[in-house]
Amino acid sequence: MITLKINGLDVSVEQGTTVLEAANFLGFPIPTLCHMEGLSPYGACRLCVVEIGEGPKAKLVSSCTYPAQEGLKVRTASNRVIRARRMILELLLASCPQSKTIQDLASAHGIRQQRFRQEYEDCILCGLCVRMCDEQMMAKAIGFRGRGENRSIGTPFDVKSDVCRTCGGCMYICPACQLRCTYNEPEKAICGGCANLTPPCLEKEHFDDMMCYMDPCVACEIETKTDK
């Protein structure tokens, strides 16, 4: 067991626990974006920053990836942490202002405005969908491509992947695109599956083993609308 201090409270956790888990155990809220139980920690969004150490040696780390250490002193809501978190949220908001998840987080932190140029990106590269596809769906159909400014997420060669089962897991988990499904804009679709396939709900027997995450399902909606 490891004993550490979070916001002045002692807590004992098992070896291998992250600071985020320890803080959650004590009930201290730490906002997260790219973290999800069941997926490996990735540390992309930095929203979960906390301050560790003391005095001039104190530093900011991402709690979702930082392992608990014996005698560690953590502050989850010091001034410095709050400032950093608000800045991160402002930046996220600037790159993806249309995302409901980010808007909610921002408003929860009292951000009403942001001072940067709005980019309207449809991806914040948090890697949730990549991990979902790999770790939960065991498909590895999508991944990171390129680097730096040109980094993007998608299928190899931008064609529909042979291993994609159109489960929709990537869309379900995505915090940035609240569209869920890009059925009507296939060139923007991550897997593009829905554009090439009849939506699974219409031809169920072909996809018995499929896990459909689309909720609400755009395909269903389109179908019902045209029916009327």
Partner: protein, 296 residues
């Protein structure tokens, strides 16, 4: 040195050709000992085809049991790899901070206008590919331009036309008249000691060396340049690349006795007695440029 020069002289960057699964499999098998070797595999495929064909990546994914996304991710992450066929000559202009402040953007502009392409593109005749990099680690020498592995420092806008012209002809072309590493030798048969020099047939403006060669039940003459370091030859036979031929003395008809094997291709090395002392040895394999001079 000369060796490499001549090699890169003759080599052609291949463009757009069919992917041979056998070659890819061989490359994969050579490296596939642990996960980390994926870059080595991709590098080798790129040397083979000049770029990474989609087909090849799919085969690699299949053979290494790694997902195509991972391989594609690596292939797009590193600047070294290209998924599009590249031209014969690769022009790489540095746009790093140091080069940038020394005027690299103007150099790139000039390159773009002279080649008629944008950075990252290849000319229609598949001659040049223009790429930019962010620092080559030679900042004090900026602006730096690398063409086919040759570094050019403090490049000026006015010098670019000349650079591209030189690239077209190949930087490694040896100027036989001027190069000091190249000198004429006079040789004779190590068996009968009669001269092999042929005044009546000149190669590189010098008398040639005449020997008789045979391979595959064919015989004929072969004339070599007597310039040590020049590979110009002339022969009446059509010797396919990579064949090992037998060398005979045209006077005593004895086969020139080989005493050692080529360090590069293991074919026998043919000795020629050099006037003034010493033995020149040349590799008997067509296309192998190995040769050496033992001065006694």
């Amino acid at each position: 040195m000369i060796q490499k020069a001549a090699l890169s002289n003759g080599d052609e960057v291949m463009t757009q050709q069919d992917v041979d699964p056998v070659i890819i499999t061989k490359i994969v098998e050579k490296h596939n000992k642990d996960r980390g070797e994926i870059i080595a595999i991709l590098e080798e495929i790129q040397t083979e085809y000049g770029y990474l064909p989609e087909e090849a990546l799919r085969i690699v994914s299949d053979k290494t049991k790694r997902s195509l996304v991972d391989i594609y991710g690596i292939a797009t992450f590193y600047r070294l790899f290209s998924l599009k066929p590249r031209g014969k000559h690769l022009v790489c202009a540095c746009l790093g901070t140091a080069c940038h402040v020394r005027g690299a953007p103007r150099i790139v502009e000039e390159l773009q206008s002279q080649l008629g392409i944008q950075a990252g593109e290849t000319t229609a005749d598949m001659e040049f590919t223009l790429e930019t990099v962010n620092c080559l680690g030679a900042c004090a020498l900026g602006p730096v331009v690398v063409i086919d592995g040759h570094y050019f420092s403090k490049v000026k806008k006015s010098g670019i036309g000349q650079l591209l012209e030189k690239a077209r002809t190949g930087f490694d072309k040896i100027d036989i008249a001027k190069d000091k590493r190249i000198f004429p030798i006079e040789v004779s048969c190590p068996h009968c000691n009669r001269s092999l020099m042929d005044e009546s047939f000149a190669i590189d403006n010098h008398p040639s060396i005449r020997v008789a060669i045979s391979f595959d039940h064919q015989d004929g003459w072969l004339r070599l340049s007597c310039l040590y370091g020049s590979y110009n030859i002339s022969t009446e036979l059509d010797v396919p690349m990579d064949t090992v031929v037998k060398f005979n003395c045209p006077h005593c008809h004895v086969e020139l006795p080989s005493t050692s094997n080529c360090a590069m291709c293991k074919a026998p090395m043919v000795p020629l007695l050099v006037r003034g002392g010493g033995i020149a040895k040349i590799c008997s394999r067509r296309g192998c440029k190995n040769h050496m001079l033992d001065v006694l």
